[in-house]
Subunit: 332 residues, 2 copies
DNA sequence: CTGAAAGCGCTTACAG
DNA sequence: CTGAAAGCGCTTACAG
């Protein structure tokens, strides 16, 4: 698998490597004769030349690689983000490295180190709990980073996110209006700020109302099992109840529980879930859900990163997108 | 973002770059004094040194990068494969580049070129229709490649796949046994060999039986709409009917159709779907499905690729995994 | 025990 | 119009 280099082209075309480089990169101005240009292109083709971007990267201190760190690339939400980031990155000439942190700060740190050693020009990251040290180290090096979906409390980093608190307030208001006996918030037992925002938004409005509420918080490792057991404990079908699932995984786990136990939506219980997934469409009832503008978010994250790469500025801006409540038939 | 290099370490520690390199890579044997070693490590730490893998790659002609080309990383099936490949690749010290071909041979070719220019050590690919030229070019360069999920008819490449034909035969037999009036095969209108195998396996057994069958073939671009309209045309609920959806996307689209039209499973129609997805669990009935051993397949693909990278052999072997029929409650 | 030097494949300021 | 040369950050065979 020995590849041809510009040296080989230079030798065969009997010109210098400099000339080859100029011609192949169209950097000649009009200085090089058409005959020479043609010869170089012909030789390049005949020996099947492909440029070595590693060498170019080394020389230029630009790899045209960007790293994406998500919690888990097999999660629908992140794989959709990844796909849209991929498309946008390609448009701007970047290739995408992907890594999954599994919410593990040590894995997260390793990924940032790995990507940094691979000389990615920048990273788009979904920070995990206790990843502050790893991130501060990157910031100390003025490494271009942009957050997506999540953000950090004590670190100001450019990034894209949604209006988590507001959308939760809105959802809560929708439910309060319908006079449920009880509204159950299903969230994660976590310190992730964007998830706490969802919770806080809900809390703020529910406590301003007279409606009773419960909060079910789930660990991140046995989502399905925990959601099932906690719903079993907490769901009282004798009351007029609504459940707000604050993530796609929680929504899917919860709907599966309802399904398995023949609990009808919205007859027996009303439901609003977060994020969009094909799975919601297979549930007997069309599920109300909160839609994040993933394409726009992904695009913006790459745009932000690209501008950080080209012109680093500390304390970059956060771009807040508006999530949208998609009313269907799961709330009575 | 100017990074420290071994040159900086050498200067500060007052040793040669060679010595620094030996120490940092633990290649000193026992030749270098403990004092020197300690000094080098201390300096490295104090100036926050991180190795530049691009430089190393250039020198070593090994990037420790592998490229993964799937049809669409946002497809559940591929994102799960990607996740398992990521884990296995990391274990072997590789970082993963990901690209989506969208079943488009031109995009596919561009990705192979891009990855090859980025000097990935090898690629794991899901070939698309008419990608033979791009792949043959790679083979001509003895580029290590391994196929996953799919394979090519006229090219012998190492890869992993399942026993598509056999599992379809088995599924067909299961259905034939139950004496349906009609069995509908839902597949893609495609030339992809692994999908044709699924179809052929089904055809072989159905034509050996006395059961009537229909074949619904769908284009790859408007799956949901096409599945819906063709099911509307072809599904006759007055007969005892079974449907075999030969991919996860087809299964999800089909189940959504049944859901939207209040068609009960298995009372009104029996269903078997391909691949595993959380979505199936939200359908009112537990859906029978064909499970591919994704983790094992992903692991094996990386193993195969790694061995190709370390010791290239043309015409590598294909590893065939056995898919498993998971009977649930959707067949009557 | 340690270092000087060549070289991986590029780019580009400079010289002619 | 074209080329010689330096240098990006590494590794390693060789010399001492």
């Amino acid at each position: 698998m020995k590849r041809a280099s510009i040296k080989d082209i230079a030798r065969i075309a009997e010109v210098s490597v400099a000339t080859v480089s100029y011609v192949l990169n169209k950097k000649e101005g009009s200085r090089i004769s058409e005959a020479t240009k043609k010869k170089i292109h012909d030789v390049a083709k005949s020996i099947n030349y492909t440029p070595n971007k590693i060498a170019k990267s080394l020389k230029m201190s630009k790899s045209k690689l960007i790293g994406l760190i998500v919690a888990d690339i097999s999660n629908d939400f992140y794989s959709n983000i990844a796909r849209n980031i991929e498309d946008q990155a390609m448009k701007l000439g970047y290739t995408l490295l992907i890594g999954s942190s599994d919410e593990n700060p040590e894995k997260f740190r390793k990924l940032t180190e790995l990507f940094s050693e691979q000389q990615v020009d920048g990273m788009i990251i979904a920070p995990v709990v206790d990843s502050d040290d790893a991130i501060n180290k990157l910031i100390g090096e003025e490494y271009p980073i942009v957050t997506i979906d999540r953000y950090l409390k004590n670190v100001s980093l450019p990034g894209v996110m949604i209006n988590n608190s507001e959308i939760s307030e809105y959802i809560c208001d929708q439910l309060v209006e319908k006079n449920f006996d009880e509204i159950i918030y299903v969230g994660y037992d976590t310190k992730l700020p964007h998830l706490l925002d969802r919770q806080d938004g809900f809390d703020k409005r529910i406590s301003a109302s007279k409606i009773k509420s419960k909060r079910i918080l789930i660990g991140i490792h046995n989502i399905t099992e925990e959601v099932h057991s906690k719903l079993r404990e907490n769901l009282n079908l004798n009351k007029k109840t609504a459940i707000y699932f604050s993530s796609n995984k929680l929504g899917i786990a919860g709907l599966r529980y309802l399904n398995d136990n023949n609990i009808r939506v919205p007859e027996d219980v009303s439901v609003i879930a977060f994020d969009e997934t094909e799975a919601y469409h297979l549930f007997p009832t069309d599920i109300d859900f909160v839609q994040q503008p993933l394409i726009d978010m992904a695009k913006e994250s790459v745009k932000l990163l690209d501008s950080q790469i080209n012109n680093y500025t500390p304390n970059g801006k956060r771009v807040i997108f508006h999530a949208k409540y998609m009313g269907r038939n799961s709330v009575k």
